[in-house]
């Protein structure tokens, strides 16, 4: 065993100081709420941060390009149809960043107008699903027992119905278009969120702090709104972020096969459809909307994964 030589030490250093409890009870780190801490952790995740910036960029382009572009999405220039990427229009001197389509429309403007449609539909559809899901899952999880049993069986029945059939049926009844798609999505898409919220609430119900509130005399409404739902939010947020790519793809797919957005409205799906018709001659007209769809989906997925890790309390410190 190592033992250093005991050198002589000045007596003054042995002056009594005593315990300083406040120093040891003090919390040395600055206060962080749960969200702040989660955001700090997220910022260390490179993939998630890049995805976040990509999404912000896409949103900004979707908002501002149609507003500021010299072209509208439906303006047709027959003189310059199907021009390639980066074509400068000799008539008015503007740059067609993504070229033009077979009717001479500026694809760049159309892509970002289409982005608005695709994103609005996806966000709305997911939002509706989330609201229904939280309410349904919340009630089922909180009440438990027979009520929960019945509500879960209903979900299983709904899950058995293919989304496509609902859309087609609805389209026979209603006008095909944006609203129909959202209704169809809302009719069957909420089950995932409901199950998730139900599961969270069932496990939260057993936690001591919920029991403590009950013993304190809290009414069910207080328990649900002050304790259960705030603690479910992190799971809900992650799920929303991961549900959006699914909604984007569904919209794109339906519009591609003609069951979604109808002319004259353009979405990424319809643009992909247009592009696929001339793919062999002008590949960029399909590739560009495809990249937009893929990139957006990927970004939301990576962001959602990052959020899930950073919001998970078990992975803290």
């Amino acid at each position: 065993m190592d033992k250093t030589m005991n050198e002589k030490i000045d007596k003054s250093r042995f002056e009594w100081v005593g315990a300083n409890v406040n120093e040891s009870e003090a919390i040395t780190r600055p206060t962080t709420s749960y969200w702040k801490d989660a955001m700090q952790r997220l910022s260390k995740n490179k993939a998630a941060m890049i995805s976040l910036w990509v999404i912000i960029l896409i949103l900004l382009l979707a908002i501002f390009v149609p507003m500021l572009s010299p072209y509208t999405m439906s303006e047709q220039h027959y003189a310059h149809t199907s021009q390639s990427v980066g074509f400068r229009d000799p008539d008015d001197g503007h740059l067609h960043l993504f070229g033009t389509d077979k009717l001479g429309r500026d694809i760049f403007t159309r892509i970002w107008s289409g982005a608005r449609i695709s994103l609005i539909i996806s966000f709305t559809a997911v939002f509706v699903n989330v609201i229904i899901g939280i309410i349904y899952g919340g009630i089922s999880g909180y009440l438990g027992g027979a009520v929960d049993n019945i509500m879960m069986r209903i979900i299983e029945i709904i899950n058995g119905i293919p989304y496509l059939i609902i859309v087609i049926l609805l389209m026979m009844v209603l006008e095909p278009g944006i609203v129909t798609m959202i209704i169809a999505y809302a009719a069957v898409g909420w089950t995932g969120m409901a199950r998730l919220v139900r599961g969270q609430i069932m496990s939260l119900k057993q936690q001591d702090f919920v029991v403590a509130a009950k013993v304190m005399g809290a009414r069910p409404s207080r328990i649900i709104f002050k304790h259960l739902i705030p603690n479910t939010l992190s799971v809900v947020i992650v799920n929303i972020t991961l549900a959006i790519p699914g909604a984007i793809f569904t919209e794109a797919f339906l519009s591609y096969i003609g069951l979604g957005v109808q002319i004259p409205i353009a979405s990424w799906g319809t643009l992909a459809n247009d592009g696929s018709k001339v793919f062999q001659m002008y590949p960029s007209q399909l590739i560009i909307p495809a990249i937009c769809i893929s990139l957006t989906m990927l970004s939301f997925n990576l962001l959602g994964d990052g959020l899930r890790d950073s919001l998970d309390p078990k992975l803290r410190r």
Binding site: K3, I9, R13, E15, A19, V21, S24, T28, R29
Partner: protein, 334 residues
């Protein structure tokens, strides 16, 4: 009596997103054949990390051995490669954990798991390995081992699972057994059974045991020697009698005083240690216990104390023991 294990000035840190957590800050201890060394301390003191580092069980990263030596049966653990570690684990040193349920595979019958552990290090046929498994279950006093080897972990009670884990740990007769809080999760009467079992096994096989615990009763019952850890360092080492009857470090003394004895009643206040252990993300420059120590002196905040000898093989790291120190002031020895 040869030394089974020598740990010299071990420093282990964890690289977390908040910074470097210095979990082990210069720990030294050693162990002879057949000896039981208890490492006592509270959560966060570094005892588990030290023990896991002996077997290199901590994933590295984020763990990192900064410096120090670990010599096990004349093998240098710090420099050993992962391949070398695989042949060392289970054969030279083995470990049992607090919660046996997390160490036993719930989808495999325990007989199969035992056989796997045996065949890892010994060239035995399946039949012979099975016989060895039954012998081990008898050693740990599990009744009807021939039938029980077909059963799954969830069919055993907590105490039984702990015995199975002990059987697995002993399957290759290691010279060193590390028991990390083996009885903390068990009921008191089951704890008594397991402690008795460990004593018997130690006597039969002469295995050295490192017993990590925070329960001083368990220490008094089983340990030959004790190392008291606080804030990543060993603050006092000695025989069990040294530690209990002549505690020299203020933390050890305070720890012993905070335990109610059966002849105390509420008219005597329990002596508690005010405050909480330091954050090892920013460990203090001086002695880790300084801000909670009633005898704290100026030098305690400035510099970490050396190890001072109190008796034969009894040392403590405290400035009060320095020859120039005028003795404990205010408070002193109650």
């Amino acid at each position: 009596m040869s030394k089974v294990l020598e740990v010299k000035d071990l420093h282990v840190s964890f690289d977390t997103y908040a910074g470097e957590v210095k979990a082990v800050r210069g720990v030294s201890f050693d162990l002879e054949e057949g000896e039981v060394l208890a490492i006592v301390g509270e959560s966060g003191c570094g005892k588990s990390v030290s023990a896991q580092t002996i077997m290199k069980l901590n994933p590295m990263p984020p763990a990192r051995i900064k410096s120090g030596e670990i010599i096990l049966n004349n093998k240098d653990i710090v420099k050993a490669t992962e391949k070398e570690m695989r042949s060392i684990r289970g054969k030279d040193v083995s470990m049992i954990f607090q919660d046996p349920m997390t160490c036993l595979n719930p989808t495999m019958p325990i007989g199969k798991q035992l056989v796997e552990a045996i065949k890892n290090h010994q060239k035995l046929s399946k039949e012979d390995a099975k016989k060895e498994a039954i012998r081990l279950l008898n050693l740990v006093k599990i009744p009807n081992p021939e039938q029980r080897i077909k059963q799954y972990p969830h069919e055993f009670s907590g105490g039984m699972r702990q015995r199975v884990m002990i059987a697995m740990a002993l399957s290759c007769a290691p010279k060193l057994l590390i028991a990390d809080e083996p009885t903390t999760a068990l009921d008191v009467t089951i704890q008594a059974q397991i402690m008795e079992l460990l004593q018997e096994i130690k006597e039969k096989t002469n295995t050295a045991i490192i017993l990590i615990t925070h329960d001083l009763g368990v220490v008094a019952s089983m340990a030959d020697r004790v190392a008291v850890m606080y804030a990543g360092k060993v603050v006092e080492t000695g025989t069990a009698k040294d530690i209990f009857y002549n505690p020299s470090h203020p933390y050890t003394k305070a720890l012993l005083r905070s335990l109610p004895t059966t002849d105390m009643d509420r008219s005597v206040r329990l002596v508690s240690i005010p405050g909480t252990p330091p954050d090892l993300l920013n460990p203090p420059v001086g002695c880790g216990f300084a801000s909670r120590c009633e005898n704290c002196m100026r030098i305690c905040h400035e510099e970490q104390p050396n190890q001072f000898e109190i008796g034969e093989n009894h040392t403590a790291s405290c400035w009060l023991l320095h020859p120039d120190c005028p003795g404990p002031q205010v408070g002193g020895d109650k």
